[in-house]
Each structure stands twice: as structure tokens, then as C-alpha cells.
């Protein structure tokens, strides 16, 4: 039998108690703020892309900025060159990338825009385009296919052992399952929310661009890494770092470019030939993601041209080449079957590679030259 007298009304010990109308007003204001802040932010934040712009390395995970960049008016007519660090230019300066040399070959500065992001791989690239690349529609897209990601079960993220990798926020969180990705469900759901709520992505942009990729409160307590540690932000206003000016493309990056010690042929370090455990295309997670990506781009009305490699065959052990070529030809065959134009440029000279897949500055120049001389490429470029 219910004894209603025993049920006591829950007392409040503060006055933060709203009625229905007050809740409606509060939620309305919040909704307005949440919707408008990311929309109006670009109007007050200076963001100069200019020629040869690429997303600065420290902002590689600022996907909101990536989306914003794609919507920039000065990029709207360019052909997008989409891909991982090979397109972004791991060892080269912004004026040493494939997009720069393709623009030069075409005789029109800015004809090709660098839409690569450092640290990507097909599974993440697919996520980037799906969730933050809405502006990539009805455009010409040169999509790079880096077979390095199929060069071993580990690179293909097939292994069962947990692996930490870049851009986990972009890979499929639930399906298809990535065996080596062991994030907690709470973290996965948080990522899904961030992808779908523009406001959260914008907050991520603020953290990336102004607060050293930290939560703003954590930033006030951040250590400088010294021993004993110092706390440089303790007495700073949390609003002070928001300068409303985004960093540019680091044209004098000491880590990259011909003057950098990293910018040298792979063979100069005495690295021997490498054995690759090429995965089967049928079961490859990265290749399947790449396939989905090409479909997605075409569904969005893009005119896609895929460039496969050129992978550094010089680094490859002799007995690996057959399997590599079979894999590369398999990729080309699938693309042809699906009426996606593709080019398979010849391998560059040995000294023009910095590692297995990244060319050096002259390598990019040569690749751009070869592509521009290709009839199919020229036809695609000049097409409607």
C-alpha cells in the first residue's frame, strides 16, 4: 500500500531553480549563443591563407579551422589536392609541396590548393572529409593514395594490440571496427558529439589555436616542462591568449625545407632496404576507407582524380616488389572499374625521396612536371 505522506518534497538549498518558462528562456539564450558563436567567429578572427597555404602543423587537429579554410573564398576556385602528409609536405616548406608545383606548372598561382593534413591516413581522411569537409562539393579534387598505409597489418591498423595513432578523432568510432583502437565508449561518444555539434568543434578550435591544445582551465595551470616546473599562465587572464589572429603557414619552419637537416635523401642515413608485409586489399581497413572516400567525394558532385604514389620502390626489398605492384595494380583496377580516373606516376629517382613515401622538394617538382605532361591529367584539369 502506498503511503503518500512519507514521500517528502525534495528541498532546494540554493535559488537556482527555474520554472518551465524560465527554462525555455535560458535554453533559448544558450541555443542562440551556441549556434551563433561559431557562425560569427570567422568575422572577428583574422585568418589569412594566401598562396600555398597549408594548415600549420600545430593546428593539425583543428578540424573546425580546416572546415573554415575550405569555405574561404580565395580557395573556392582552386583544385583541391587532398591527402596525408605526402600532400601536406612533411619535409618541405609550403612552397615546396605538390600543390605549389602543380600551380606553377599550370601557370596560375593558387590553381591548386593544399588540402592535406599532417598525420592523416585513409581511415582518418575519410572522417575528415565526411564530418568537416562539407565544403568539398562540386569541385575538382586531386586525391592522393598513399600505399604506405597498406604496407603492413600495423599500418593498416589491423593488429589486435592497442596502438596510439594520430587523428583518432577522425576514424570510425564504432563501425567498421578497428582492432587496435581501444578507446573507451565514453571517449568515442564524445568524439561523435564533437563531430556533429559545430559548437564543440569550435571550442576545440579555440583550444588548438590559443590554448596549446588544452582545456582553458587546464591551461591556467599548465607547467612549462622544466625541473622544477614553472607555471607561466597562472596569473594571465584566460582571455589574453585569444588574439583573434591565427598563425600563418610557418614559411620559415626550421624543421622543414631545403635548409633543414631533415631534408635529405633517405639513403644518406645508411638505411637499408625494407621488407613490407603488404596486406590483402580485400581485407585492408585503409583501402576500404579509401574506397568509401572516393564514393563520398563523387556523391558530393566532385570531379575526382586519384594519384597513386609514387611510392619509393628503391627502399623496397627485391622480393617485395611483385606483391607491391600487384597491390598498386589492384587499386588502379578498382578505380578504373568504378570510372574514377587515376594516374600511376613512375617512381621518382632514389635521391628525391626522404623516406618510403615522402618526396623531397625536387621530387615534388618532378612529380608535378610529370603529371602536368600527362595527357589524361591535362584533360581532367581543363575539363568542366
Amino acid at each position: 500500500m502506498q503511503n503518500k505522506l512519507q514521500i517528502q518534497e525534495t528541498p532546494f538549498v540554493n535559488e537556482v531553480r527555474l520554472g518551465a518558462a524560465q527554462w525555455a528562456i535560458a535554453l533559448g539564450i544558450v541555443l542562440l549563443g551556441v549556434c551563433l558563436a561559431p557562425l560569427f567567429w570567422p568575422k572577428i578572427e583574422r585568418f589569412e591563407t594566401g598562396l600555398d597555404y597549408r594548415l600549420p602543423y600545430p593546428l593539425s587537429k583543428d578540424y573546425w579551422l580546416y572546415a573554415r579554410r575550405l569555405r574561404q573564398r580565395d580557395d573556392a576556385r582552386s583544385i583541391l589536392v587532398l591527402g596525408d602528409s605526402v600532400i601536406w609536405g612533411e619535409y618541405v616548406l609550403p612552397d615546396g609541396t605538390l600543390s605549389h608545383f602543380l600551380s606553377r606548372e599550370s601557370g596560375s598561382a593558387g590553381a591548386f590548393a593544399n588540402a592535406g593534413v599532417n598525420g592523416l591516413f585513409p581511415l582518418a581522411l575519410e572522417g575528415l572529409v565526411r564530418y568537416y569537409g562539407g565544403a568539398i562539393h562540386g569541385r575538382k579534387v586531386l586525391l592522393h593514395c598513399n600505399v604506405l598505409w597498406m604496407s603492413s597489418p600495423k599500418a593498416d591498423l589491423q593488429t589486435d594490440k592497442e596502438e596510439k595513432f594520430n587523428h583518432a578523432e577522425l576514424v570510425p568510432q564504432f563501425w567498421p571496427r578497428i582492432p587496435c583502437y581501444k578507446a573507451e565508449i565514453a571517449g568515442r561518444l564524445e568524439i561523435v558529439a564533437e563531430r556533429n555539434l559545430n559548437f564543440l568543434a569550435w571550442v576545440g578550435h579555440l583550444q588548438n589555436a590559443y590554448f596549446d591544445q588544452k582545456n582553458i582551465l587546464a591551461w591556467t595551470l599548465a607547467e612549462d616542462g622544466g625541473d622544477p616546473p614553472k607555471y607561466p599562465n597562472t596569473y594571465k587572464s584566460p582571455l589574453a591568449p585569444i588574439t583573434l589572429t591565427l598563425p600563418n603557414a610557418f614559411k620559415d619552419d626550421p624543421e622543414r625545407g631545403p635548409r633543414s637537416p631533415r631534408h635529405k635523401p633517405w639513403s644518406s642515413d645508411g638505411i637499408g632496404r625494407t621488407q613490407f608485409e603488404w596486406v590483402d586489399l580485400e581485407t585492408s581497413l585503409q583501402w576500404n576507407a579509401f574506397q568509401r572516400l572516393t564514393k563520398l567525394l563523387r556523391e558530393r558532385g566532385n570531379d575526382v582524380l586519384v594519384v597513386i604514389g609514387p611510392f619509393n620502390e628503391h627502399i623496397m626489398a627485391e622480393e617485395n616488389r611483385l606483391a607491391f605492384r600487384k597491390l598498386r595494380d589492384g587499386i588502379a583496377a578498382w578505380l578504373s572499374q568504378n570510372q574514377i580516373p587515376c594516374l600511376v606516376p613512375a617512381t621518382l629517382p632514389c635521391e628525391l625521396y626522404a623516406d618510403a613515401s615522402h618526396p623531397l622538394t625536387d621530387g615534388y617538382a618532378l612529380l608535378a612536371k610529370r603529371l602536368s605532361e600527362n595527357e589524361s591529367f591535362r584533360k581532367w584539369q581543363s575539363g568542366p
Partner: protein, 533 residues
Amino acid sequence: MLFHTWPFLVFLLIVLPVFFVLRKTRFWLPWLLVASYVFYGWWNPYYLLLVFYSTTLDYFIVLLMDHCLREGQKVDLLGRLTRLRFNDRVLKTAYLISALVTVVCLGLVLGGPATLRPMMGWLWLIFLLMAYGALFSSRRAWLVVSVINNLSLLLFFKYANFVTQNMNWILQKGHGALRLPEPATLMPFGFDYVLPVGISFFTFQSLSYSIDFYLGKTHRERSFLRFATFVAFFPQLLAGPIERARHLLPQFYQFPVVRMRDVTDGLSLFVVGLFKKLALANYLSFYVERVYERPAAADAPALMLATFAFAWQIFFDFSGYTDMARGVARLMGFHLMLNFNNPYLATGLGDFWARWHISLSTWFRDYLYIPLGGNKHGAFHTYRNLFLTFLISGIWHGAAWTFVIWGLLHALGVMFTRELERSAWYRESVPNLLKQIGVFIFVCFTWIFFRASSLEEALLIVRRIVGGAWTDPACPPLMLGIVALIWLYQFLYESKWRPLLQNSVVRVSLVVFMILYMCLFSSGGGAFIYFQF
């Protein structure tokens, strides 16, 4: 599952609509139970067995108590022993089963697999007592079974390591060869020895039902489903409030009446709790952890501010959880008890405990302090009872000497302020603000022992606060400013200026501020401190 995480949001978005869809059927209560078990099992499904075990045992113990003879009735012991002549079939069945299981357990203790022996030994004791209870028709014996059962679960999972370490240290000092086995080695079937989340809460809640029934304060719950839902009700399963059967159980008799006011109040409570956890407790925890992780490297101001920050961290963390729990329950039309009432405005330590973790304080008052005699047998007994109650309350919080000291300090503090409050001078001449500050400083001092990882570290912190150098504490003014504003809010709330806070514009602005602040500044993760208790 944590209230402030995305899985909980998904969970709630499934549970709430289905709960309301089922309102006209018999299935809303089973649905609530299933949801509660999923909520708990999300963390570790194996420990659901413990919740289920504790629930089942207390349910049947109260059933058996209900079948025991009333006062004045006599037991035909000889008839029961020799001819199984029971005048109650339930008791007879209980006796037969208990006796049988006692024999089986004894057999397994003597000749069973080594990994099962400790558990069988414990079950043997429980079933022996049950057989005794059935044979003698003793309500008290059944109560003892319930108390032993619940407390032994708690003791084993929470205190066994602490006891073993200390006993083995003593045995070692005595140069004896005897050593107590590590508790992890006593786990059956190779289960991990991990403290089940919220064990102190659900065992106390379940236990309170048996004690209340024994004392005649509540009726026997006939529906197992309802009782199981009462024990496992997900909003308060992991960290309270520790509800009493007479308050929560009647709310499960029929589908609750849910008015718009319940929804808006539930939302208000939840947002305040979420803000306390995400925006405040987590922020304060960064500073507290930084300083308390290396107290030897910190100077007096940093240690003082970290202790101050911890006082607020634990308040925001725990009261935030309770607010969210009450908010979620309220969204479904259920009312959970108040657990925190602005404790840092307390003017005495007794007042502090009437405002801090109220459900636990009243639990100890009702089931320990009063049964010990309360304040009815003179000053000495009153102080002895107070002392014991606070000591046990300290130990309830954790298995370490720091918690024992923390409990002792509160016991001494309560005794001292109780005497102080008896003097007219103190009551009438000392301003309330001074009393509040005094209580807050004392409570902060005790938090040092609560937070420090060892007794040595706690003493080091005290020494460095008293005699350490005065250097820059590197504590962000933003953090201190936020805490100061909230303290000011609480002062205003309990002052004649309260109508200022009741203004609609102020209230709406505060909610808007809290939500936007959480969206912009909050840090995601972090379990609740009180889960470990």
C-alpha cells in the same frame, strides 16, 4: 557509468522514454531494475552479483524475521530438533536448507578446492547463524546474519588489505612465522580483488532495511522486484544519498506522478550538479593533485591553498553527484533526500555534520549513536558514543590510518564545540561569521588527513604549513575567484539578502552562465571521489 559522460546521456535517453511509455503497464518497475543493473554492470558486470546477493539475502532475512515468533511465544526446541516440528513452514524450510548448506560448506572447507575454502568458511558461518535463527525463531539472530553479511562484504572488499598489512606488520615485529594471507588470494574462481564501486552505499541501504524492520520502523516489502529496485535504484546506487526504506520504497508502489515542476526541478538540480563537477571540482582537482602529489616540494601558501581547494573540490564533487542523482530521480518523479546543505556555512561541528553527507550522518546517528545509548546516559556515555560514532564514520570513508585520524579529529572537534556551545558567552557573544570561519578552518585542517596519501605525508604537510617558507603558490586567481563567488552566494542565500537571488533574471542568468561556462571551459573526465568509499 558516470553522470557527466556521454554514455550516461545515451543511457538516460533510452531509459526515460521507455520508463514513461511503460507507465500504464506493470513493466515500469522491472524496467527501472534492469536499467539500474545495466548502470552498475557497465563498470564491472561481475560485481552485480554482489548487489544481487546483498539484496536477496536481506529480502529473505526480513521475510524470515517476519515469520519468527512474537514476544511471549515459546519455541519447542526439542520438537524442532528431534522431529522437525515447526509451526511455520517457511522457518522449517529455512532451517532445512540452512542446515544442509552448513554441512556442505563445512565439507568444502575441510576437503574442497583450496581456492574455495575461505569463501566456504564464510558461507558456513552465515548459514550456521541462519540455521540458528530458524531453529530458535530468533529475529535477533536474523538481524545478526544481515549485519554480519553486509559488514563482512564491506570489510573484505574495503578493509581486508589494510587489516592484513597491519596484522602482518605486528606479527613480523613479534618474530612469529604466522602471516595472514593476502585478500586477493582468497578470491574464488580467479576473480580480481577490486573494491566494488559504491559498496559502502548499497550495503548500508540494504542493511538499514533489515534494521528498520527489526526495530519496527518499516513494513516488510513483499515484492522482491520492488525491494531490488530500492537497493539498486540507479541514481543513488553508486554514491548515495543512502536512502531509507520507509522513504524510498513507498515511491515504488505505483508509477509516480510526474508534473512539469518535477521536470524543471530535476533539470535545475542536474545542471547545478553538473556545473559543480565539470566546471569546479575538476578544475580544483588539477591544483590539488599538483600540490598533494609532491608535498615536499610545496611551500606553506601552496599547501594551504591546495587544502582550501580540496575542501571545495570534495564538496563540489560529492554534492554535485548528489544533485545530479536527485535531479535524475526527480525527472522520473522520485524524490531523494537532501544530502548537503551548504556545509561550509556551519557555525559548529555538530552543525557541519547536520549539513554534510546528511544521509550518512543520520545513518550513523540512527543505527550506531542511538543504539549505543545516544545522549541519554550522562556526559561520559554521550562523549564515548560520539567518539565511537565519528571514529567508525572515519573508517567508513577509507581503509587507512589517515581516515582513522580524520575521524578522531572530528570526534574531538565535535566534543569540544559541543562543550563550547553550552556556554552562553560563546552562543551569544561570538559572531556567527567568526564561528563559521573557525569551523571551516578546522574542517580544512582535517581534510589534510583525508587527502594525504599517508600519515607521514599528512604530518609533513602540517609541518610545512606551520613552518614552511612563504613563496608564490602559483594558484590561478580565476580558481580562487570562482570559489569566493560561490561562497558569497551561499552566504547571501542564508542571509536577509536572499530575495536578491530569487530574482528571475538572476536565476536565468546563472543557469545560462553555468551551461555556457561548462561548454567552453569544462574538462570531461574524472571519476567522483566518493565512488571509492
